[in-house]
């Protein structure tokens, strides 16, 4: 059974108020939710409360889950909005300042020529190569890693807030995100080809 199918089954059982399913669902996703909660700069007690609240909301909302996204994406939306709602400006600032300092321009120049775009089938294929994705994320240039990190794991949800933090215009946040994703896709593609050719 695929991971997605397993989550669908657990959420369907949670919708029927199956506590055993809730326990399994928590065990599958607690690390992801916990990482986001602690990375937000909350203290241990507050983070634990936020994790509990996230899964409680998932429990209550399970009957409405329609399966358009993965369960992890759905949970990410819940926990990130809880973080944004709950932490105050001081905590946000701590979380942001705890991150690596913005890179110098020469550290990771933004390429003039964008990496190629990919069709849906190719992207779905790349998405399966988890090991390559991990390796390529580790190799991302600082500017690209920074924008993806802020947009995926940061305490700010709005792009204009991310733009303010980076000190760049809103359009640059979007274009830098797009470039980061494309260069990541190109790296993952090379990684897959390398594996297939045994290199």
């Amino acid at each position: 059974m695929e991971a997605g199918d397993r989550d669908l089954e657990l959420l369907a059982r949670m919708a029927l108020r199956d506590e055993a399913a809730m326990k399994l669902f928590y065990e599958r996703h607690r690390a992801m939710v916990g990482r986001l909660a602690f990375a937000s700069g909350l203290g241990e007690a507050d983070a634990a409360e936020l994790i509990q609240e996230t899964f409680l909301r998932a429990w209550n909302a399970a009957p409405g889950f329609r399966g358009q996204s993965s369960a992890a994406t759905w949970l990410r939306g819940i926990v990130r909005h809880l973080i944004a709602d709950h932490i105050d400006a001081a905590v946000r600032a701590r979380a942001v300042f705890a991150r690596p300092a913005p890179a110098q321009a020469e550290d990771a120049p933004e390429p003039d020529v964008p990496a190629p775009g990919y069709g849906p089938d190719k992207l779905a294929e790349l998405a399966e190569a988890k090991g390559c994705i991990d390796g390529c994320l580790a190799k991302l240039g600082t500017l690209h890693r920074e924008v993806l990190s802020l947009r995926i794991t940061g305490p700010e949800l709005k792009e204009r807030e991310v733009a303010k933090l980076l000190g760049v215009p809103l359009g640059t946040v979007k274009s830098r995100t797009s470039l980061a994703l494309r260069s990541l896709a190109a790296c993952v593609e090379r990684c897959i080809e390398g594996r297939e050719s045994g290199g």
Binding site: M22, K23, Y26, Q68, S69, G77, A124, A138, L181
Partner: protein, 203 residues
């Protein structure tokens, strides 16, 4: 909407940063376009990978604490048929019912009104494809199938029960037209559906 803009929205959806209105817009687009779902898988994989690179949490609540909280919430929640009726699962059915009532009212008004000489009102028929682009399947489930099995199958197929169980124990299930073939094969291969057919339009 420009492609680049929508791609950014899809990425933000995977990152969990969209507000409810933007999320609903993306989900409507995902319902209408299976290709977008495949693109979403890439963004989800990137987001999963970025989160996995964050430091491990120093401690996490035990599963028992989480289950106890859920149990307490359950004790305080409304119960039974009326709670289910008011729940989100039936919202599409409620919207369809409201639409049918309006359509029926329009038909009746047309029949009894003073404009009988005009072109008659044509009733909506339970067709293979309705005006909103949904396809209706008639499905009979194995009596041994659990409610959880059926719910999981409907989630995967993107289907909503709009009627049933009827006298013969079957259900009418509405599926977005662009997912009809996929849903049909899912129903047929599920092992819990004894009978599957697309409902034909009344002539």
């Amino acid at each position: 909407m420009a492609d680049a803009e929508f791609e950014d929205l899809l990425f933000a959806y995977a990152a969990g940063s969209l507000d409810a209105a933007a999320r609903a817009r993306v989900e409507a687009a995902l319902d209408a376009d299976p290709e977008l779902r495949r693109r979403l898988r890439w963004y989800e994989a990137v987001c999963d990978g970025m989160v996995a690179r964050l430091p491990q949490p120093p401690s996490l609540p035990s599963p028992d604490v989480i289950v106890a909280a859920a149990r307490a919430a359950r004790r305080n929640a409304p119960r039974g048929f009326f709670a289910w009726l008011a729940g989100p699962a039936l919202r599409p059915a409620a919207a369809l019912a409201a639409l049918l009532i309006v359509a029926q009212a329009a038909i009746i008004a047309g029949l009894v009104g003073e404009r009988a000489a005009q072109e008659p009102v044509r009733a909506l028929t339970p067709g293979a494809q309705s005006a909103d682009g949904a396809v209706v399947f008639v499905v009979a489930f194995d009596p041994q199938a659990t409610e959880a099995d059926i719910r999981a199958l409907l989630l995967k197929a993107g289907g909503t029960i709009i009627d049933g169980p009827r006298q013969l124990g079957d259900y009418r299930i509405s599926v977005p037209a662009n997912r009809a073939d996929y849903a049909k094969s899912l129903f047929e291969e599920s092992g819990i559906a004894e009978y599957v057919r697309a409902e034909e339009a009344a002539k």
